[in-house]
Symmetry: C2
Subunit: 224 residues, 2 copies
DNA sequence: GTCTATAGTCGGATAGAC
DNA sequence: GTCTATCCGACTATAGAC
């Protein structure tokens, strides 16, 4: 149970990736120092060039790790949804419920989890100024999730999956939950929420489910 | 028309702030170098300590500038909305239309404008890891805007302005438009949009208006 | 008010002992 | 596989000429 009892550097590599997520996320690539990275991993500075070849390669390894974490966490709901999209028998209410499963999982991971707290900044930087690392994130995780949500929206609203309006609805839905991460400090000021535990996460999930249903309901009867 | 014909340093100060927004936004505080800041402003490194006292003071000056830009841009729709909120005669459809004016203005500024391209990263970093600068942003601009949107939502849906559910709807509405900035690279991949000019901005505004109306309509008749 | 020169600190990467 | 020592470049801020 000692910090590095068995074999030493057996997992210096993974500790470095863990530290990289935290440090790069918090400070950004250029501002993160190899000394920070190493000391937070309980390792030596020279371990970075040794294990990864350099600071940049460690950054890419961290991106791949995030993509993997997202893909793993979303695999269940996304897989079920993919199946349902391919099933012509799936009706509107089942599709909508499955979309709720997907958004719930996404909210749990991206908004409510401790780990997202760690690497959210990582993703946000790559969204604003994509580097090679964004390829890893997008191809490894985001692509599947966005395609799944868009596919469900398309089926539910009777449009084509590649309709740009469907993509916009998809981003709108994701925006409603992601805003709680991207506008964290504003949420803190307005609602006094210091974290998204328990009830608060559930409230966000419920709001997204409710709004999603309304958003994908054709205007029948309601004039606006 | 020469880059600095009249009086030289007459506006070295404002050029430094302009440059600060771009550089801090792109690279973050720690990674931004005074050399970058100065050269992008066409000024000397020593001009920073001279005009502002140091790098940090320049950062705060840049934050104040952003707050001012947002407040100025939103002043019209927000002012009109404030008035309407106080007017008991304002009916649902007028309130909803005014909310559309506010979200349109916000989308124009935060998503569609060239300047937002410049300083969006600045705000995003402060949302994730607030410093003194966030106070300037929040008190100087965000507070009024969020309060206005929440106030309109409250009136439209017949709830109290300080109801947490109202705040959540407010964030949900803002999230739908902000996501186009915070998930910029994903939008580029999915929709192929390299910018938000013309039709695209209009499409985002229309989506937000449409969704806002649905979101604030009580479930009458529609079962879900 | 703006510049050059420089002081003092800290960055990433490498060499070589263990 | 991990460490210490060290090179060399880049950083912020200051001093002082103009």
């Amino acid at each position: 149970m000692n910090e590095r009892a068995p074999g030493r550097g057996d997992d210096t590599r993974s500790r470095l990736i863990e530290a990289a997520l935290a440090v790069f996320s918090e400070r950004g690539y250029a501002a993160a120092t190899t000394r920070d990275l190493a000391s937070r991993a309980g390792a030596n500075v020279a371990a970075i060039p040794y294990h990864f070849g350099g600071k940049k390669a460690l950054y890419l390894a961290a991106a791949a790790h995030v993509a993997d974490r997202i893909a793993t966490h979303m695999a269940g709901p996304v897989g079920d949804a993919m199946e349902m999209i391919g099933d012509p028998a799936a009706d509107r209410s089942r599709l909508l419920a499955q979309l709720g499963e997907v958004t719930d999982a996404m909210a749990t991971l991206m908004v409510g989890s401790d780990e997202a707290e760690t690497w959210a900044g990582f993703i946000q930087r790559e969204q604003a100024h994509p580097t090679e690392a964004f390829d890893l994130l997008y191809e490894g995780a985001m692509k599947n999730v966005t395609r799944t949500i868009a596919g469900l929206c398309a089926r539910i609203s009777g449009r084509q999956p590649d309709d740009p309006d469907v993509a916009m609805d998809m981003f709108g839905i994701m925006g409603q939950l992601l805003v709680f991460r991207t506008s964290r400090a504003a949420v803190q000021r307005r609602l006094g929420w210091d974290d998204y535990r328990g009830d608060r996460l559930a409230a966000i999930q419920a709001m997204v489910r409710r709004n999603t249903a309304r958003l994908l309901t054709p205007d029948d009867g309601a004039r606006s």
